[in-house]
């Protein structure tokens, strides 16, 4: 029920934000389209804790703030390597352990790896992620496990 309410709220916010027309006719179209999408998502059985991770709401902002700093740092690193050319890179391709207990934890971890330029999650399995990294520094930093620990912290 909480998940249905959350989907409805998100859809309504997106519709209102993108519309900009608030007369009766268009608002009723909005209500009808939201109801239609709700019906379809329920039929698809995708309204649950995975599509609407409400239990993470309070912890996510702090994690994303930390991740954003990482994204800025790794962007600068990749920009420097792009200008210095292929001689400045030394790509690595290795398995990185993914100790997260839940699917959504692994997805957040893999997405975070992808969001930071310089590391790319190629294959996600049950207990590891196959990662391509632009430099050995990037791979070493990932293997030091700080990001992984922080994602595990989200799960608790």
């Amino acid at each position: 029920m909480r998940h249905t309410a959350s989907v409805t709220l998100v859809l309504a916010a997106i519709w209102l934000g993108n519309s900009g027309h608030y007369d009766a006719l268009l608002l009723s179209f909005g209500v009808v389209s939201i109801a239609l999408v709700l019906w379809i998502t329920h039929r698809m059985d995708v309204v649950d804790h995975e599509s609407q991770p409400l239990h993470l709401t309070t912890k996510l902002p702090a994690y994303y703030f930390w991740l954003f700093k990482k994204i800025v740092a790794s962007n600068i690193d990749v920009v420097i390597r792009a200008w210095r050319g292929p001689s400045s890179i030394s790509p690595q391709f290795e398995r990185v352990p993914a100790p997260q207990k839940t699917d959504i934890g692994r997805v957040i971890y893999a997405n975070s790896i992808n969001l930071t330029p310089g590391t790319l999650s190629v294959v996600v399995e049950d207990d590891y992620i196959l990662v391509h990294s632009l430099s050995s520094d990037g791979m070493a930093e990932l293997k030091s496990g700080e990001m992984s620990r922080r994602v595990c912290g989200l799960e608790e």
Partner: protein, 104 residues
């Protein structure tokens, strides 16, 4: 010129520089995986800076809300699509060039 306009101009210039750097990286790096890292610059910080600059210009309006939605969707779909691309390349049997093979 107002302060926020100046700040917006600086952000736009920095964002454009990041997009240019991403393009240069895509052209210069050797294989599909390393090129995807360069493309990653454009769809994370590059897009962030340009959208932030536009948000400053938009002020408090519906446009601001739309720009925030664009940023949120971009930050969710970007890593998902690059994972799909990397996995597709891997499944198609594209072997990444690693440190040693590059030095040959």
């Amino acid at each position: 010129m107002e302060t926020y306009e100046l700040l917006s101009a600086v952000l736009l210039a920095a964002g454009s520089f990041l997009l240019l750097s991403g393009g240069i990286g895509v052209l210069r790096f050797p294989d599909v995986y390393s090129r995807m890292h360069a493309a990653g610059i454009t769809d994370t910080l590059g897009a962030c800076l340009i959208l932030l600059a536009l948000m400053l210009l938009a002020g408090f309006s519906l446009v601001l809300l739309k720009l925030m939605m664009i940023l949120a969707f971009l930050l969710i779909t970007g890593p998902t699509s690059s994972h799909a691309l990397g996995k597709a390349a891997w499944k198609a049997g594209v072997k990444p060039l690693t440190g040693k093979s590059l030095q040959r």
